[in-house]
Subunit: 404 residues, 2 copies
């Protein structure tokens, strides 16, 4: 590990690692549940040490990691495949197209990366209970990582979370509390819980190591492309923390002098859950009051990392798009039927965004190297795509019954 | 690739690679649908060349591969994590216990390995259509791999296959034919199809490269253990082809002089689907007439690779066990809640077998290095464990409603 301190992404104040836990003690005062987080902290490393210590022939990723290796849970997380998808790329006029399939994390989503690092931090500081609010994936991730590490997971989920996700977290031994309300209600409740009853809060962006954990997806993309920066990365956006984490990977690499430029980040939201998209477009934040979408993992009224996500888009010279559920489900089918990669609707939003962009005036250049980040496993929610498939009727088991 | 020929596992006759496709032309005549396959072929490599060419510092797995790299589909398959599971191991008196999590293949099961290699073979010989019978996992695997490679998948499934698996294969663009009957009916029908209408048949063990594909799981276990042979590997058993494939990995390594001994293979079957277990115990084969089990992936009346599986058990000085559905579902929950690894009931059968063995007189030694092979993803079938979980009632989103 390289030494680091926490810096407020709003006021720029620095804090020693051991002196803060969640938000900036100053700016964080201005935060109240129901608005995007203010005072989100980021880890700022000793980049000269990273520069000196990083060797592409034997990459030591621990240099970029904010928790010592000895505290890491025993569940292998990350190191998911990056697949070059030539069939799909050809269709979209992008011969250099890849999919980073983060559904192949142990609990089935990229959220394992954040849960892993927060659990490592809990082990380091001696907290036995981790508390989170989640639409499902972060909760499943936390439940799985805590199971491997012998930690207790307490999870607030909106009652409408897909059954597969609920089964998974309960079976993992987590204490699950379904909440009558939205994800945002669950988020607020979990904050009240840790404030008044204790435990380590793993809420996304609220605990700074969630961003650091998600960062590893970006580091892997860079390494898997042969230590090249792609031209664009498409990321589905709910709270905006995956987007922020991927951005942080390249910011860290740039600060360490290992890369010269940032990839453009293209954030894709579901049409009804588009608070960040509108914030980027107008500069003015407002909630998405009814964020209902089949892409449940990116359904959010008030994205916790709205400010950080907007900053990442602007800094990277990227853009945001909003897509309909219909476009998302089409993209899910298209991705699977062209690449063999099965991602949940939220993950497919990234492809829906690419399809939309390629159909318009801002289409990418044919030479661009483009990565789609598939954030969760398709098996997380097989109800969502049911409208897109018709399962044929069963036949008698004789060859004559098989159509030619 | 190293040159190879096909050898009949029954009569020992050798055949040049290009002269045969499925079973031994001589022994295979004795096969008729409804009995275990006879005349199954195995690939026999130039082991001296492997010995000379294999370098543990830069392992070239292509040396063990029966299809040239240029024909491999673009979907990354295999390279799944091997997790040391200390919490679970301690409970079972086995401090050196690992889980190979093959549910993290792209379609969610180890079957991707077989489909991958058969698809590579189809690309090599110019077949555009691959035909298979499957309880679900092999079909999802074939559909995914074919999607990535631009091949057509035609799949016969028993109509009772779990919905998640059906959704997955249809969404991937496969032509799916649900069959009124058992997996065995689907198996027979697919053979009739390729015999009379063409296409490449991918049925397990029937196409010899299914075994070769599954072999890669065993090679990876060896490499991930630091090129050490474990003392025992627990494998859930339906048709017996995964068991046979894992065995073949170590047989190849031994023939190449890279290892000195074979791991004991412990095959675990569901109580109602125990044809191989009884065959090993008695030496006399008979069907499992009503193989109904919640572990749908290992439900089979007449295991296609019964002879090969029995041979692998005997050669490796292993054994077989039968476990109840109750033991399987308990094991599924135990695995997830102690390790964070979510495997489908069929995959959990391996742990159920280990639990059973440890409770009896044949328990393993405390120093043994033991691997559990988790063959499929838990999200494949979230209905099965529903009886094991109770999802709490939703509460109002206020802290007072949260129990202490």
């Amino acid at each position: 590990m390289t030494s680091f301190l926490y810096r407020c992404t709003d006021c720029g104040r620095d804090y020693p690692r051991e002196s803060v836990r969640y938000l900036c003690p100053e700016c964080g005062k201005a935060y109240k549940p129901g608005i995007p987080l203010v005072g989100v902290l980021e880890a700022v490393f000793d980049y000269a040490a990273i520069h000196a210590g990083f060797d592409r022939l034997e990459p030591d990723w621990q240099l970029f990691c904010a928790v010592e290796h000895e505290f890491h849970p025993p569940l292998p997380v990350g190191n998911t495949p990056l697949a070059k998808v030539a069939r799909l790329g050809t269709e979209l006029g992008l011969p250099h197209l890849w999919v980073k399939n983060d559904g192949l994390n142990p609990s089935g989503s990229l959220k394992d990366r954040a849960s892993f690092l927060v659990a490592a931090e809990a082990l380091r500081i001696g907290e036995k209970r981790i508390v989170a609010a989640s639409t499902g994936n972060a909760a499943s991730a936390l439940a799985a990582v805590c199971a491997s590490a012998g930690l207790e997971a307490l999870i607030f989920v909106p009652e409408k979370a897909p059954k597969a996700k609920l089964v998974q977290m309960v079976l993992a031994g987590a204490r699950v509390v379904p909440v009558k309300g939205t994800y945002d209600d669950a988020f607020r409740l979990s904050l009240e819980y840790t404030a008044q009853r204790g435990g380590l809060n793993r809420n996304t962006a609220y605990h700074p190591l969630t961003l650091e954990g998600k960062k590893t997806a970006g580091l892997e993309i860079w390494a898997q492309l042969g230590f090249q920066v792609p031209d664009a990365i498409f990321v589905s956006v709910g709270d905006g923390v995956i987007l922020g984490g991927v951005h942080k990977a390249f910011v860290d690499l740039q600060r360490a002098g290992l890369i010269q430029r940032l990839p453009r980040l293209i954030g894709v939201q579901a049409g009804a859950s588009d608070a960040i998209h509108r914030y980027v477009q107008t500069g003015i934040y407002s909630d998405a009051p009814d964020p209902s979408t089949k892409a449940d993992s990116i359904s959010v009224v008030c994205p916790s990392n709205a400010h950080g996500a907007r900053k990442a888009i602007l800094e990277s010279k990227g853009l945001t798009l909003a897509v309909s559920d219909d476009e998302i489900l089409q993209a899910q089918k298209r991705l699977l039927s062209r690449t063999g990669i099965f991602t949940e609707p939220a993950g497919a939003a990234a492809l829906a965004g690419l399809v939309k962009l390629q159909a318009g005036p801002d289409r990418l250049n044919v030479g661009d190297r483009v990565v789609l980040l598939a954030t969760g496993h398709g098996l997380k929610d097989v109800e969502a795509p049911l409208s897109r498939v018709s399962i044929p009727a069963a036949i008698q088991p004789v060859l004559e019954a098989v159509e030619l």
